[in-house]
Symmetry: D2
Subunit: 337 residues, 4 copies
């Protein structure tokens, strides 16, 4: 397998390192127009073939093209790669809008090429553990999903905080809940350069389930936390914890028990808590493996273009909602083709 990586920014060296480490990758080509980024890769990974020529990379002998450019460039590069019969790996968010995502899926389907969208957290041990617990029905029916990803973060020039951070959380939500959003409302402010830097997204589902997301580039504290409330148990995933990332609470709402009003007020935690061991393998390494396996086995990867499309739908809906102070926007799940 030969891999061409286009875009060697912040995430680039991690991609290079992880593809180099796959035993069935025989060649890695890395492409960027910036001299200093090529130099950095050359120092760290001397076996990588370097080029400034994106065109050549796309038309050369690579089997898989990894696209890690700014989001606006995803579509033209991905399209050309598919047209040249390359499988593609695209960083999140998949594309800049729904139409682009649908077109790419259509081309790939027609040519039986694979699209892998790098929703990295789907390969994170804690997220896998959450999925496993929910699939075993440990939590019962899911009542709500609440996510917070806030930090003193970098202002992006090309996208707002929703497009930058929320793809992580939206993809996790889709993965573990496994159901489609019905409608979305987004509220935000832009305090500095016109791009929203703090946002809240609320998502409604058909079955009364509800999700909320807080993304924020201007928080003095770093919080990365999800709460999943179920009818049987509830779960907290705190990514800032060094060890106990997942906590499952054998607690919940027992309607009858709310009679004993004062006891409940005092007895804060009603049941035991359990914190399962979480696999600490690097998510990107598992993602690279899954991508290659999907190609070899000629099957959809776990995070395919369809998953990328669903996230882009929600991002696009958030843009629409923001235009009118949180107006509710319905989500259409049909794939146009």
């Amino acid at each position: 397998m030969k891999v061409g990586i286009i875009g060697l920014g912040y995430w680039g060296p991690n991609l290079v390192r992880n593809f180099l480490a796959q035993p069935d990758v025989e060649k890695v080509v890395a492409c960027d127009v910036r001299e200093e980024r090529l130099k950095l890769i050359s120092q760290k990974f001397p076996s990588v073939i370097l080029t400034k020529n994106c065109e050549e990379t796309l038309t050369g002998d690579c089997d898989l093209i990894v696209i890690a450019t700014p989001v606006a460039a995803h579509y033209p590069i991905a399209k050309k790669a598919l047209e040249n019969n390359k499988h593609i790996w695209v960083e999140k968010p998949f594309t800049a809008n729904v139409a682009e995502a649908e077109t790419l899926i259509e081309i790939a389907e027609a040519k039986n090429l694979k699209i892998f969208v790098d929703h990295t957290f789907i390969y994170n041990g804690a997220v896998i553990k959450m999925k496993e617990l929910i699939d075993k029905n440990e939590l019962g029916n899911i009542l709500y999903f609440d996510s917070e990803r806030i930090n003193l973060g970098l202002f992006q020039k090309d996208v707002n905080v929703i497009w930058d951070l929320a793809p992580h959380d939206l993809s996790i939500m889709q993965f573990i809940l496994g159901k489609k959003a019905k409608a979305l409302s987004a509220h935000a402010i832009a305090n500095f350069n016109g791009k929203e830097n703090l946002a809240h997204i609320c998502i409604y589902f058909e079955d009364n389930c509800f999700a909320h997301f807080h993304v924020n580039w201007v928080s003095p504290v770093k919080i990365r936390r999800m709460i999943v409330g179920g009818t049987k148990k509830m779960l907290v995933y705190d990514d800032m914890e060094n060890f106990e990332k997942i906590k499952v609470y054998d607690s919940g709402i027992d309607i009858k028990s709310t009679e004993g009003i004062h006891e409940a007020l005092v007895q804060y935690r009603i049941g035991d808590m359990f914190s399962p061991k979480v696999n600490q393998t690097e998510a990107l390494s598992m993602g690279a493996r899954e991508c290659l396996d999907a190609i070899i086995q000629n099957r959809q990867p776990l995070t395919s273009g369809y998953d990328g499309l669903e996230v882009v739908k929600l991002l696009e809906a958030s843009d629409k909602s923001l235009k009118d102070m949180g107006q509710i926007v319905e989500i259409n799940h049909l794939v146009h083709s």
Copy 2:
């Protein structure tokens, strides 16, 4: 000063204890129709005069009537108290709707009686410290206010989670920001008895400031946390911390500094952090003192009927917004009279 307390539920004994402890309170009358609540008060506070007769309490010789009944009963009792020339103390939320609040204010104004609304947190040491820091302009202009009050809490039969928990946070927001909300949107779900048990409220201000509130009766973890983001510094108030309740971060967004993108990613905290000592005097004791002082000095208390009204406006707006999946509702700040 003679004080009559009506409603001896969960909060009642605290009210009795704190008014008894005021040196200028010569008599406390406590009133409830429930025998067992009277018995409890009698055992703990033998000097209190007990009665089941609310009417008598309202027309007797008390100077101040403390109303700690379910919210639906606030208005008729408060109205009668004012009509009998009593000052009133009303638990939060002040009234069940804006019209009631406005009528009570009108009556009190006409008779020069004082209305104290028990927004207890305004008398909490940590909140006072926040106010002090903001008033000294330590934080610069406030960009946003984010509040979370979630817990495995009691389901109320008469009100939803917004009316139950949000008055605390809305009153704190009003107190420390000192500006009026322009519009509000509320999103929520009701999983059990028809009353919403999880809600998110977003509030917009004229000057681009933004506030968000998460209130939740079905969280496995107890979180009571506020973040106040300013242009100069940022502050976190974590009420679950035993000691360091307030943390002030000498960090923020320096637009120029975001050029050095990679350094900023690594260097999470840019400045020092400072955690000021917080006064630990019981808030209710300070509230009781303020109420009595306002009466004696013939002035508005720090938490007057007007403050209660502003909170009720936001609560009423949240009801309206909830009816249409978070529709934006403008807040009218004129007092009708």
Copy 3:
């Protein structure tokens, strides 16, 4: 049952309240020479009979004498109480030296009177849970017991930090380990008034088990934490945690696994963690109940004079060890009689 309480200092009101709440206590007499302490009790608990006359209390009609004076006065009061055929409850530490403890036990045995030593933590839900887990052999053989109780605490005038704080931890150790100490070494410093304010105690057992205690009045942070290391599992009890006081780690030392040196370094937590629900009933209430039950059922209480004696032996040994910079002192477990 009639109860006389002698000494109404810091702990006095709690004792009065808890004995008043026992259904089979018909009378509580409270005794102190300080007027203001009597007044405080009178205000809070009007049904209590107050007296400044200790002699009268000891010779009156009480069945049980509760001794909550400074430790130096425990022995003369306890002796007189026993001689007057009263059962006794003695605050920790039981006596000021081993000889006193042995004499009191001897008198009580001869007269079939009960001695209850108030090792309060033995009735604490978290400690009971630890005991339960160890008794079920969840942890395997206990390798070590490590305790830390540090705070910005009050300097006592009559005792050092070991006699003040360590009785809590020593009694917990004895209770949950259920084996006798073989030898002890204590290290300390006295920075202020000649009484040691920071100390470390190391205790050796016959079976290679080891215990360590850190007690400290001059710590800027409050830590109350115990670690119990077993061959199968390990446990942490953190009393400053609001909810998850006990955590049981399914982790340990697998001698074979230490070959894979690098993996172990990275994979910090090897197994799951479990935090059981802990009973939150006030320990003193359970202690009062146990004391009265032991008297009624004519049996040794869970925390008897023998338990008090064992703790005093360790405290006395610590004094001896301190005199020579931590010299090792053997513990003699014979009761002289």
Copy 4:
């Protein structure tokens, strides 16, 4: 500058990386007898010259020999390096006993060669900040130093937990306190392979200052925490905190204030807390720089052979103390020559 690194175990790749990154290092030779370690280095750092021949490395053209072998081999390699006129960098602990350390210092002095002992934490931002605060007399006189470094760690085959972990803490203590230990007592247990796996060390100083160290390979939780108590302020360094590693408490013991006994009990924290920003540069990078600078400038490095010797004295004293259950051992600070 040419650098030869001998011993490519766990720490080896970090040493290679950091010396490679120094601009005045023109050549790095890496030496180990294990084929797989050489291969690892070759993959990551292709420019490094690899060899299995230690002898050759020591007699070749390197200016500085970095010794990262097991401690037993430090002395013979270091001696030969000095005899071949090489400066040396030695991993902690410097040597296996005092005599070896003294001999190496003597040889180096005679030949004006530099000995750098890799007490890495001395170059850690948080430790540097502690030193700075103490040197500015922010804390007043230091009353005590308390250190805890516990974890589910690796059992070493050649040394016990004291020789493995305590050098970090002992070197930090020496650096920030800047005074010599008078006497030491060590208590420990060996539960598995005969090497002590849990130990407590107490150190006495002339001026009544006191230090305590807890090192432990069998703790279910990872704690790396130091408390420094001063007469003016107190400090906590928690290395497990992601952001607020150093906290300075404006709290302390005011002898007079201990009269108001009850207030003090309730009012846990008496003053403000301050958490200064800490430099996050990798300590090893700063250490490598300091080593090279000391050679170039012909001066003692910040962590010289003398510092290494002091730590070895304490380690040797701990061995002696352990032989007799914590017997007190006096520390001799004369350098024999």
